[in-house]
């Protein structure tokens, strides 16, 4: 029996290991499939390089862009704008959101304006802001600020409103002042929401930035793509899109999501009690 059991055990562990391997590899499948279709399409249909550049061309142009330093210049220009606009958006959104979250009357009276300006946040401001600010960093930073602000603002206000009042009263009863209540109850209580807001906001901000750079900047990834279109360099366009996607994923999955998860685990207690 034990003799028979051993091979069964090994096959089942082998199968389990295989299953685990498949589970880890499976996210790559769509990328591989799309690449294969792409290779086949360029091979069979033989389209012009403008219509669909071959995979090798795109890889070559990524390498070329990286070696010439053009890629670094544009990525740095884009990330710099994103950083500046996001910091402004996060700071103003946080301050505004906490104030509004603490004051229900103010929240109610401001709500219609927030809803309306949220509906036109970001790219809708582009034409007006080009006339006011001209083409350049200020324009892109404004559009990112405008996008990030509303998301952080709304999440911060919601988070603050959802902190159970009992906690606040607890600190007050123990003699805590207004500032102390804020620091030890309201801010940590709202933190999971605030971080979700920041993460979502940065995702939106990145997309708004690329759109802004298509017309309103002299450098940056969006400009790189748009300039490439003028010379019908599809390989650079596709390369740029892939780089934009990779940066978005790296930023979200490896930077912001871990921070958010840790905070939720640490401070998520508040959300749990809220459900009761």
């Amino acid at each position: 029996m034990s003799v028979q059991a051993a091979p069964i055990a090994t096959t089942s562990t082998a199968r389990r290991a295989l299953g685990r391997l498949a589970w880890t590899l499976v996210p790559a499948a769509p990328f591989v499939i799309v690449t294969l279709i792409w290779i086949m399409a360029t091979g069979i249909l033989n389209p012009s390089k403008e219509t669909l550049p071959p995979v090798t061309d795109v890889l070559a142009s990524i390498k070329e862009l990286a070696l010439s330093g053009q890629l670094a210049t544009n990525v740095v220009a884009s990330l710099y704008r994103l950083l500046l606009g996001s910091i402004l958006g996060i700071v103003t959104g946080l301050i505004g959101g906490v104030i509004v979250g603490l004051n229900r009357k103010l929240a109610e009276s401001l709500n219609p304006v927030v809803v309306f300006f949220n509906a036109i946040s970001g790219i809708v401001w582009l034409p007006l802001m080009i006339t006011w600010l001209g083409i350049g960093n200020a324009l892109a930073v404004f559009l990112i600020w405008n996008t990030v602000f509303f998301i952080v603002f709304q999440n911060a206000a919601l988070g603050v409103q959802l902190v159970p009042e009992v906690y606040e009263q607890g600190v007050r009863a123990l003699g805590g002042g207004r500032w102390q209540t804020m620091r030890s109850v309201i801010l940590p209580g709202a933190l999971p929401y605030i971080l979700t807001g920041i993460r979502t906001g940065l995702g939106f901000g990145w997309r708004a930035l690329i759109a802004a750079e298509l017309v309103g900047a002299a450098t940056g990834l969006g400009t790189m793509i748009f300039d490439a279109a003028e010379y019908h360099r599809s390989d650079i366009i596709v390369a740029g899109c892939l780089i934009i996607g990779v940066i978005a994923i790296v930023m979200d999955r490896w930077l912001l999501l871990p921070i958010e998860r840790r905070t939720v685990r640490r401070w998520g207690l508040v959300a749990d009690t809220e459900k009761e």
């Binding site: 790219i123 034409p127 793509i225 996607g245 978005a248």
Partner: protein, 278 residues
């Protein structure tokens, strides 16, 4: 359908007859909504009057209002609005018809769901507008280009949320129906569709929010009509009144679509089938 609709409709309440007080209260509420806007317009007017700006920089609210009345009466606005609405409408229809079945197919298998999740996130990271230059090479400066960008943006949240909704359906619902001899189609109409519907509608609402913005951005660059073209075109000729008026229309129209059309559908679905959501 009856299998999953456990929630009962609330007992009918007598419809309150609006009394004088209730009417007054409602009027007060609508004034309250308008109040912050009145303050904003007053500030705008004050800045404009005090600063003595040239017309290419800032115009008075009165001027914007007059221009809008003129453009509306001449049917110019109707044309731009209908172009935008047509594209977002077609894009929504395409995204639902294509995206929902994909979401079901992928959601039914956990390996498929996991494999597509990362890919969809990647697609979302590369905004539709980044592909615009390539799509312009394919389709030229046409409505097809704008439509492609909007569908690209709209379909991702729909697939994603359909997938999540399908995964959240307890497996034994499907198994129960199958053991009673139901065919695959019955499974879709009686389990998957109602079970995932609240999630699908959430995806639709998100998608329309993203899609609307992508539409405006694409119209600015394609320049073949639509509200994005209206405000971006006005920039080249320095018509600030048209830009601000167009922005107000864009915001109002989006809020109308979202609050009057999509949100009621969402509330209805969640009230009707939301029982499956934990």
């Amino acid at each position: 359908m009856s299998l999953v609709s456990v929630q009962h409709a609330p007992a009918a309440r007598p419809i309150p007859v609006p009394t004088g007080w209730a009417v007054a209260a409602r009027q007060l509420r609508s004034v309250k909504i308008l109040f912050p806007f009145i303050v904003l317009v007053a500030i705008w007017w004050a800045i404009q009057a005090a600063g003595n700006f040239p017309d290419r920089v800032l115009v008075s609210p009165q001027r914007v209002f007059d221009t809008m009345v003129l453009l509306i009466s001449r049917g110019v606005i109707a044309e731009y609005v209908s172009t935008s609405l047509k594209i977002i409408g077609i894009a929504t229809a395409i995204s639902i018809v294509v995206g929902v079945p994909i979401g079901f197919a992928v959601g039914a298998n956990r390996y498929a769901a996991r494999s597509l999740e990362g890919f969809l996130r990647f697609l979302q990271g590369v905004s539709g507008i980044a592909w615009l230059p390539l799509i312009i090479i394919w389709f030229g400066f046409t409505h097809a280009t704008t439509l492609a960008v909007v569908v690209y943006t709209l379909i991702v949240p729909i697939i994603f949320n359909t997938m999540i909704g399908t995964r959240a359906i307890p497996e034994h619902y499907g198994l129960a129906l199958r053991s009673l001899g139901a065919a695959r189609l019955r499974l879709i109409t009686d389990v998957y569709l109602p079970g995932a519907l609240p999630s699908i509608v959430v995806g639709l609402r998100l998608g329309m929010g993203y899609g609307w913005r992508a539409l405006i951005a694409a119209e600015m660059l394609v320049r073949q009509g639509g509200l994005g073209d209206l405000i971006f075109g006005a920039r080249t000729s320095g018509q600030i009144d048209r830009i601000i008026g167009g922005m107000i229309i864009i915001g109002t129209l989006y809020l109308l679509i979202d609050r009057m059309l999509v949100q009621p559908i969402e509330n209805l679905t969640i009230a009707r089938w939301g029982v499956l959501r934990k």
